[in-house]
Structures are given as structure tokens and as C-alpha cells.
């Protein structure tokens, strides 16, 4: 049965058309995947369906009847619910309050019954198999946990159409499985799901239909039967793509960085070493301490004990500035918080970290900045209306590319990549993989933190598995497997 249909939806921002007469039809009891490159317009499209923005033209039909949503509130009343790509949370409120915001349970007298609120939240969590304390403040959670709360919040709505915009980009396999179970459950109840993701394996596993957008235009809809990876990819990128993972043989050189018994917030007694020309992968479940380790190594978190040696010499890295000067670069997993100045332009964000290098004394060198920004935008295929667009209005994947390009302009020797392909389309992923490969052939060292195990397995020379802030296992690439990693990552 058709639950939702959108026809001829168009939308422009500041004179740039980002959606051009796109359409889509969703049936109950099916998962309809929406895919396309970064900046193709997927999120914009969904935000229009959800009443977050008005469309410039086009009509939305719910159960065959045309509707006009003046806001998210209207869309929700028509049975739509959405997990947004960017986290839309209330950091100062508790998990339970976040889940029930807008529909708090009231007592007989009309006021909020905090105890029932928490109980209901706890029940919901249990029911869905999520383990997050409901009385904690949202800001105390890791991004992954926040994402899970958002999922719980969205699916607990009494809705008939669920829109999920990259729900798995910030969570690990384990949590993703929980989501997949929930999706199966909803599907069984006859609900419709629109699912956006850049992860091909998820699409093949979940989708009943796939609609592809490119450059804001509708490209086509295919049903699951007879769908081929090759065809899908060329629909997405408009050309053929080489093999995704092409790991060249590497020849590790001397040790670049060595950590001994490192302790810091969330990191307990970690020792590791990275060689030049080597990719060190770090695996772990959510909250295993990988991000904390990355932060400690990049001067973002105070090191409480232990020692770091660079090129054999003990160094103290007490600020990101010190890390940068010593040749350590970090691509953060939380670009919104640590990575970008949202109101500043793409150009300014790209050159910010390496501004000193690209200026003349205390004066800026605008011409050079423009040239550098254009070069980087070309190189990482950053899709923006111009280099002067505010980076906060770029699509998620393009923002990630800006972070990456900004970091590598500082020309670090050790590059720490924390979930670098989060939310990145398949074409761009390949470019990032090629970039990582080029780093190692130039004798740089890379620490790669990723929750996508196939990616980690394909790119790393060695893999560390973390749990509870400690390194629990170390394995060479040819000995590693998904099963083995998961075995070490989970508690015994």
C-alpha cells in the first residue's frame, strides 16, 4: 500500500538549485533506500518531506491525499518520523527527556511525571535492546550513544513512515545490528522506511527498492531483484568506478611514534608504536576508548602518565598546537564540535590550520588562499556552490572532506584518522583510500580508527583491538578477520 509519495519536488538555496523535480513513492512494509553522492540532495529532500523546509515546488501525498506541512509538527501528525543526519539533541537534558521531548507523559493533574518518564524510557530501551542509562545528561554520552538515543526517539513515535538519514554513520556494527532488528520489526508491522546510507552492504541487506539521486536530479528507482552493484554505482556517480579497496604492498620504515603506558581520560595504560609507511588500524566497540586515545596523542586531552616518543625522542604534547608543530594531524570524528567553524567559508576552513604557512608574516595572502582552496576542493571533489559558501550549509559528506583537506595541509608526518569515511559517498571513499595509500608510500605513518571492519581490514597493516580503554589484542593484517576482532572487542 502506498503510504507516502512526493512529486516534482524542487528546492533552491540562495539561488542554487539543489533539488530539481525529484519524486519518490514509498509503500508500507518495505524499506526504500535513497542513495546518491554527497551533496546529491538526499537530506534536503527528506527535510522537505518532514516539513523542516518548505519546498519551492512539488507536492507531497500521504496515503494518496495531498498535504501541506507547515512544520515538523504537522508531518509528525501525519505519521512521519525522522532520524536526522546531523544529531539534533538537547545536550543539557537527560536521555529520557530527549526521547520524549514534545510528548512527555503527564500525570493526572497535567504536570510531567518524571518517574513515569524515566520508567517508560527504560522500558523502551530494554525492549529495543539498547543499553544507555536514561538519567544521564545527553552531553555526557559519546556520539555513538547519542545516535542510538536518536534512533530510539524516532522509532518510538507512533508513525507509519520512518525516515532514517545515515543512522549508522556514527555507530559500530554491534549497534547497527540493533537498528536492523528494529527495522525488521517495523517492516513486519507494515510501516514504511526510507533509508539513506553510503554503506553498500547495508543497502543490499535491507532495501526492497532503491532510488538514486544525482546532482539534485532523480536518476531512477530499481527494485531489489536483479539489482547489481556495478549498475548501482554507475547510477550514483555517473561513471564506472575502480575496485574499492586496492591495498598496495607497503614497506614499513623506522618507528615514528611510540607510546609507553599511556594514561589519560578514557585511556588506560596503552602502549603502541607506528612505523613510517604503515597504517595502524584500531578497532573496538563504541566507547572502547579509541577516540580518547586519538585525542591523547593529538594533544587534545591531558596525558596523566606514560610517555610518548617521536623519532625516538621523548616529547610532551600538551596542546593541539604542540601536536601540529610536531607533525601530528588529527581528523576528528566529531566534526561539528572539533572540526569546523560552521559560519566560516569553505576556503577559510580549509586553510585555517595551515594559515601561517599560507600567509605573509602577519598578513593574509588571499590570492594564495583562494588558489589553495580551489586546488583542495578539486582534489577532494568538495561540492559547494563556491569556495565562499558557509561550510555549515554543505552536505555532511562534503563537510567531512573539508576537515580532511584542512588537516593534510599542515603536512603532518603522523596522521590520525578517526572514522574518516563517516558519511562519505562511495566515490569519495575511494579517493580517501587512495589518499591513505599515497601517504604511506610517501613514508608517512597513519593511525586509522574505523568502525567499518571491512575498511579497517583492507587498509591496515596491523590492527589493535581496544576495549575499556586498554589494548586487548594486536594482530597482523593477514591474520586478522572480522570474527577475531569482534571476539577481542567484546567482553569475555
Amino acid at each position: 500500500m502506498e503510504l507516502l509519495r512526493a512529486e516534482n519536488i524542487s528546492k533552491s538555496f540562495a539561488g542554487v538549485r539543489v533539488l530539481d523535480k525529484v519524486h519518490m513513492k514509498v509503500d508500507g512494509g518495505r524499506v526504500h533506500a535513497l542513495i546518491g553522492e554527497n551533496g546529491a540532495g538526499k537530506s534536503t529532500f527528506m527535510n522537505i518531506l518532514m516539513g523542516m523546509y518548505p519546498a519551492d515546488e512539488g507536492t507531497v501525498f500521504v496515503r494518496g491525499r495531498p498535504v501541506h506541512f507547515a512544520g515538523a509538527r504537522d508531518a509528525m501528525q501525519y505519521g512521519l518520523s525522522m532520524i536526522h543526519q546531523e544529531l539534533l539533541v538537547f545536550p543539557e537534558l537527560t536521555v529520557a527527556e530527549n526521547i520524549f521531548m514534545g510528548r512527555q507523559p503527564l500525570s493526572r493533574f497535567g504536570w510531567i511525571d518524571t518517574r513515569t518518564l524515566q520508567r517508560k524510557a527504560r522500558e523502551l530501551m530494554e525492549q529495543l535492546g539498547v543499553d544507555i542509562p536514561v538519567a544521564k545528561k545527553m552531553k555526557e554520552l559519546t556520539i555513538g550513544s547519542m545516535q542510538m538515543v536518536e534512533i530510539v526517539k524516532a522509532v518510538s513515535n507512533q508513525a507509519s513512515v520512518f525516515i532514517m538519514d545515515e543512522p549508522t554513520s556514527a555507530i559500530t556494527q554491534k549497534e547497527a545490528e540493533i537498528l536492523f532488528r528494529i527495522i525488521a520489526l517495523l517492516k513486519g508491522q507494515g510501516k514504511a522506511i526510507i533509508y539513506i546510507s553510503h554503506k553498500m552492504d547495508e543497502l543490499f541487506r535491507l532495501a526492497d527498492e532503491v532510488t538514486v539521486l544525482r546532482d539534485g536530479k532523480y536518476i531512477g528507482t530499481r527494485s531489489r531483484a536483479g539489482l547489481e552493484m556495478g549498475e548501482l554505482i554507475s547510477m550514483i556517480v555517473g561513471r564506472d568506478l575502480d575496485k574499492l579497496y586496492q591495498k598496495q604492498k607497503t614497506f614499513p620504515g623506522p618507528v615514528l611514534l611510540e607510546a609507553r603506558n599511556l594514561c589519560s581520560e578514557g585511556v588506560r595504560n596503552v602502549s603502541l608504536e607506528v612505523r613510517r609507511g604503515e597504517v595502524l588500524g584500531i578497532a573496538g566497540l563504541m566507547g572502547a576508548g579509541r577516540t580518547s586515545l586519538a585525542h591523547a596523542l593529538a594533544g587534545m586531552e591531558k596525558i596523566t602518565s606514560g610517555e610518548i616518543r617521536l623519532n625516538g625522542q621523548t616529547v610532551s604534547i600538551n596542546s593541539p598546537r604542540a601536536a601540529k608543530n610536531k607533525g601530528i594531524g588529527l581528523v576528528t570524528e566529531d566534526r561539528k564540535q572539533w572540526g569546523l567553524i560552521p559560519d566560516a567559508s569553505v576556503k577559510q576552513n580549509i586553510v585555517l590550520r595551515s594559515l601561517k604557512k599560507h600567509s605573509r608574516g602577519i598578513l593574509l595572502d588571499q590570492r594564495r588562499e583562494k588558489a589553495v582552496a580551489d586546488r583542495e576542493m578539486e582534489r577532494f571533489r568538495i561540492r559547494a556552490a563556491s569556495r565562499n559558501q558557509a561550510v555549515g550549509s554543505l552536505s555532511g559528506g562534503n563537510q567531512q572532506k573539508v576537515v580532511l583537506s584542512g588537516m593534510q595541509l599542515t603536512e603532518p608526518e603522523l596522521i590520525i584518522l578517526d572514522e574518516p569515511t563517516r558519511g562519505i559517498d562511495i566515490g569519495a571513499k575511494q579517493e580517501i583510500y587512495q589518499y591513505i595509500a599515497s601517504l604511506t608510500t610517501r613514508g608517512k605513518a597513519v593511525i586509522l580508527i574505523s568502525s567499518e571492519l571491512p575498511e579497517l581490514l583492507a587498509l591496515s597493516d596491523r590492527i589493535l583491538v581496544m576495549r575499556e580503554g586498554r589494548v586487548k589484542a594486536e594482530m597482523e593484517r593477514d591474520k586478522a578477520s572480522q570474527e577475531l576482532i569482534m571476539q577481542h572487542a567484546m567482553a569475555e
Binding site: M52, G71, L88, P91, M101, G110
Partner: protein, 319 residues
């Protein structure tokens, strides 16, 4: 600089956590302690009553603006609204003309109307709250002067004057009103949907919108609550000085906002509590009272007052 949120590393953090949570309370108690050691008259029921009565007007205003600030706005028009509503109340409070309730009702209506205009200009008009309420600050002052023809409105009825001057069981009525407003507003903020929506809108407006909250209505309400309370403060003030004074309330907004911020409410919205605001109000009140009692010369008083406020905030420092 360590900008990350710390993990509960019990020993060291316990202390830091205590200060984080109760830093301002500690600062407040410290100041009280010092003052009661320095001045014999400070720590007495009589002086406590005086302090409470002194702070009640600023307290009512500060609670009002807490609503607006939690929802992510600001209100600079408070002082002028106090003057305008005080004049309105006084105009209807001459003996033998109207019943008391009319005077009070008209003043509160005037306050609510101003709040409504502020709220609509912010939401429908999409003008920054700072500009809207700065404009309203000037407008309301002009209205107060116009309504009173620039002269204090005097000759008010005894029943009206009793509001600011009277006591019930030894507790001054302004203090009772302040107390009632504290209770009511804590209840609204913590126990009603409106209260939680205020936090949600201030904490993340887009997320609030996406959660189906009527963001605009919530904001308008916050401004109306604020100006409505300012009207109550205006009534209390006018009846305390037995005059509708068009030039009253100058810079009151600054004292009110200061109390709110000292009480830990963030000017960027989404964080704050009535308890904190009350503490901020008391802190300012106690400093003013104590420095007067100590007979510190007026110039040094200003220097010391400023220094104490900063020092208290240092003890309370967050992050």
C-alpha cells in the same frame, strides 16, 4: 586548557564536582560568613527581613528574565516596563476611583502586551532579541513618560500602598509575592511541558522544531511571562514608593540579568534554574546590604562590589 568533559576520576574530581555544583552557594555562604563577622547587625532576623524585602523586586524581575534566557533570548526592556506598568497601576489606583483589582489588572495586561510584542517581533519578525528589547526599552520608557505626562503619579490609595509596605505575620508582602513566584516558576520550569520546552528551545532550537515543538509560541510565552512578572515588580515598586514614577527602574534589567548569570544560567540558552537565579539575587542583595552596613565609602563600595561578583564567579567557574 582542557576542554574535554572529564571522566569521573573520583578523588580529584569529587572536589571539583562539588564546586561545580555548589560553587556559587559556597561563595554566597562565605560572603555571609565574612559579613556577619565584620558587622554585628548583619546576622539577625531583622536584617534578613530587610535584605529579603530589598531583593524582592530584583528577584521577581530576575525570575522573569530567567524564562527568556533559558529559551535562548534576552530582555533589556525590563526596567522600562517596570516604570510603565508602575505608572499604569498608579493611574488606576487613586482612592475611590476603581477597585484595586483594576489597577493591578491593567498593569499586568500592559506588561503582557509588551511581552507579546517583544515575542512577536522576535519570532514573526525574526529580529534579534537584543535589538527588539533594546528598542522596547526606549519605547516603554517613552510610554511611561507619556502616560504620566512626565510627572510622578501620586496620591495612591492605602490598599494599593499596602502591597509594598505591608506585612503578614511579620513577613513583608513583597517577600511573600517573591516567594510565591519562586515556587510557581520552579514548578513551571521543572514539571510542566512548557517548562521543558523552554529548555529544549534554548538548548537546540532546530532540534526542538524537529521534535514538533511550537518553537514560536514557546518563545512568545517566555517574553510574556517575563514582562508579566516585570509588571508585578512594577506594581510592587510603585506601591513601595507610593508613586508611579516614570523614571523608575533605570538599568534594572542589568541587575536582573546579572543575577541570572551569576546563578549559573547560560546566556546562550538551554541551561539554568530558578534556584540559581534566587542565589544570584541574594548574593547581589547581601553584598549591597553588607557594604552599606559596613559604611564602606561609596566609591570603594563599587570597586569591592564588582570584585566580589567576579570572585564569586571564580569560585563557581564551570568547565
Amino acid at each position: 586548557m582542557n576542554m574535554n568533559e572529564p571522566l569521573p576520576l573520583v578523588s580529584k574530581l569529587a572536589k571539583r564536582n562539588y564546586l561545580r555544583k555548589y560553587g556559587m552557594l559556597t561563595a554566597f555562604l562565605l560572603i555571609c560568613l565574612v559579613l556577619s563577622l565584620l558587622t554585628p547587625g548583619f546576622f539577625s532576623i531583622q536584617n534578613t527581613t530587610i535584605i529579603l524585602r530589598q531583593v524582592s523586586i530584583n528577584g521577581i524581575l530576575a525570575i522573569g528574565v530567567t524564562f527568556v534566557i533559558i529559551s535562548g533570548g534576552i530582555d533589556l526592556s525590563l526596567g522600562s516596563v517596570v516604570a510603565f506598568t508602575g505608572v499604569v497601576a498608579a493611574l488606576f489606583a487613586h482612592p475611590g476611583e476603581y477597585p484595586l483589582i483594576i489597577a493591578l489588572g491593567m498593569a499586568i495586561l500592559a506588561g503582557l502586551a509588551i511581552g507579546g510584542v517583544n515575542g512577536l517581533a522576535v519570532t514573526r519578525g525574526k529580529v534579534a532579541p537584543f535589538i527588539v528589547t533594546l528598542g522596547m526599552m526606549t519605547i516603554a520608557r517613552g510610554l511611561a513618560l507619556l502616560a504620566s505626562d512626565g510627572r510622578p503619579v501620586t496620591g495612591l490609595s492605602d490598599s494599593f500602598n499596602y502591597i509594598g509596605g505591608g506585612s503578614v505575620l511579620g513577613v513583608p508582602i513583597p517577600v511573600l509575592i517573591f516567594g510565591a513566584i519562586i515556587l510557581l516558576s520552579s514548578f513551571i520550569l521543572n514539571k510542566t511541558r512548557l517548562g521543558r520546552y523552554l529548555y529544549a528551545v534554548g538548548g537546540n532550537e532546530k532540534a526542538a522544531y524537529a521534535s514538533g515543538i511550537r518553537v514560536n509560541s514557546v518563545k512568545v510565552l517566555s517574553y510574556m511571562i517575563c514582562s508579566g512578572l516585570a509588571a508585578i515588580a512594577g506594581i510592587v515598586l510603585a506601591s513601595r514608593i507610593t508613586t508611579g514614577q516614570p523614571n523608575a527602574g533605570l538599568a534594572y534589567e542589568l541587575d536582573a540579568i546579572a543575577a541570572v548569570v551569576i546563578g549559573g544560567t547560560s546566556l546562550s540558552g538551554g541551561i539554568g534554574s530558578i534556584g540559581g537565579t534566587v542565589l544570584g539575587v541574594l548574593l547581589i542583595g547581601v553584598i549591597n546590604n553588607g557594604l552599606d552596613l559596613l559604611n564602606v565609602s561609596s566609591y570603594y563600595q563599587q570597586i569591592i562590589k564588582g570584585a566580589i561578583i567576579i570572585a564569586a564567579a571564580l569560585i563557581d567557574r564551570k568547565k
